[in-house]
Symmetry: C2
Subunit: 83 residues, 2 copies
């Protein structure tokens, strides 16, 4: 399964609870698109949020975010990673 990082820019001032709720909405929908959101990080000052996911395509990942009410268009497939 491919891995993706997508970037949201609208979470200025968002709280941990709001990120948790947004993430839960993704998790509730993701199965229908064979996507899994593994991790999300938020910078409430700039409003940027970064989501790490796996799935069949960029489009599938973006559809889950759209149905969950926090659409974005900025997404990258990340086939290479290091730890």
């Amino acid at each position: 399964m491919a891995k993706f990082i997508d970037v949201h820019s609208g979470f200025v001032g968002a709280t941990a609870e709001q990120l948790h709720e947004a993430h839960q909405r993704d998790l509730a929908i993701e199965e229908s698109e064979a996507v899994h959101f593994e991790h999300a990080w938020l910078d409430p000052v700039s409003g940027k949020a970064f989501c790490l996911s796996s799935g069949p395509s960029k489009e599938a990942v973006l559809r889950v975010h759209e149905k969950a009410g926090h659409p974005t268009t900025e997404i990258y497939e990340v086939p290479v990673e290091v730890e």
Copy 2:
């Protein structure tokens, strides 16, 4: 320790080996700035690379990248995360 995601935009066509080498150069320097690079992801098509790190400040993280030869200015503190 604070957590950060920094973004590079110059890795178009980079290979897994090149990302590994760049990451190793960070790891070799990071201790001097009390920074730790935990994970990095690369999209060789767009050239974007995302680095997850912990450290005392954005500036410390950016200094390690600069000394390692792959400077960037795009960095976000990410105090909130979900899994």
